[in-house]
Amino acid sequence: MEINIDFALVEGLVKEFNLSPSELLRAALTDFYLRKSIAAHLKPLLHRMYAEGLISREELLIYVPSEDAMDIILGDEVGKKGAKIADEIWKTALGA
């Protein structure tokens, strides 16, 4: 099953139904579990929500299977760490 998730749509739903991002996340995950689907389909959305600070580390660990949650938390951390030093590398290598 292939699902494309539109982040603008999620933001719209949060506003329209007056849901908190974590309530929306819970509803989405329950729906996915009921359909015997896997959380992997939601990973890009969950990652975006986590990166934007819409859901916390704790919420991820509660509502998402632990391996998926840890992938998002640890992967995000490594990406952020890399971004912090990239500017220095570009300054040295490209002079920009």
Partner: protein
């Protein structure tokens, strides 16, 4: 091995991904960067002949990729750390080469290494920052060799070709692009 260019130490994961994505060799990058792989990585990759390994051998022969040798006692130390920390010798040797070249990062897209990073006790490994393939995409974007659409296309192609869809590797590279370029590759 001094050339005035910024050295980039590569683990096999990123090296193979960049070759498959046709980003290595790249004339624009070669002007500013020097590609380096530890001898242990080279030996590991070329053990099994494939079209990609043949390309790597050719790049080494042409001097486009440099192989960095480490002394026998350093190799033994790397093996010991590998068993202790449950990490591949390739990633550890990248950290040692980066240390020898006085740089604080190396290029790596190994999911096991990224997962274990926060648990690594060996300081010569723990203090190195792994950058993924997205660093190369972002560099080419900054040099105006890629537009946003092509960058996203290449990101997805590399992720799919290397079976990194929904993996920690995709997540770390996506966050890297978001923080450095403000581009979200969903």
């Amino acid at each position: 091995m001094k050339s005035g260019k910024q050295p980039l130490v590569l683990d096999s994961s990123t090296l193979i991904a960049l070759i498959k994505g046709k980003l290595l060799p790249h004339p624009a990058l070669e002007q500013h960067f020097q590609w380096i792989i530890p001898a242990l990585v080279y030996e590991e990759i070329t053990r099994v002949p494939t079209p990609v390994t043949r390309t790597i051998e050719q790049l080494v022969q042409e001097g486009k990729v440099n192989v960095y040798s480490l002394d026998e006692d350093v190799r033994r130390e790397i093996q010991a750390i590998s068993s202790r920390e449950k990490l591949g010798v390739g990633e550890i040797s990248c950290c040692f080469v980066a240390e020898a070249l006085n740089i604080g990062f190396f290029l790596c897209d190994d999911h096991k290494f990224i997962r274990r990073l926060s648990k690594i006790k060996e300081p010569r490994v723990a203090n190195k920052v792994p950058l993924g393939f997205a660093f190369i995409l972002a560099t080419l974007f900054k040099m105006h060799h890629l537009d946003e659409e092509t960058l996203k296309e290449l990101f997805h192609r590399i992720v799919n070709e290397n079976n990194w869809k929904n993996s920690i590797v995709e997540i770390s590279n996506r966050r890297f692009l978001f923080d450095t370029l403000g581009i979200w590759v969903g």
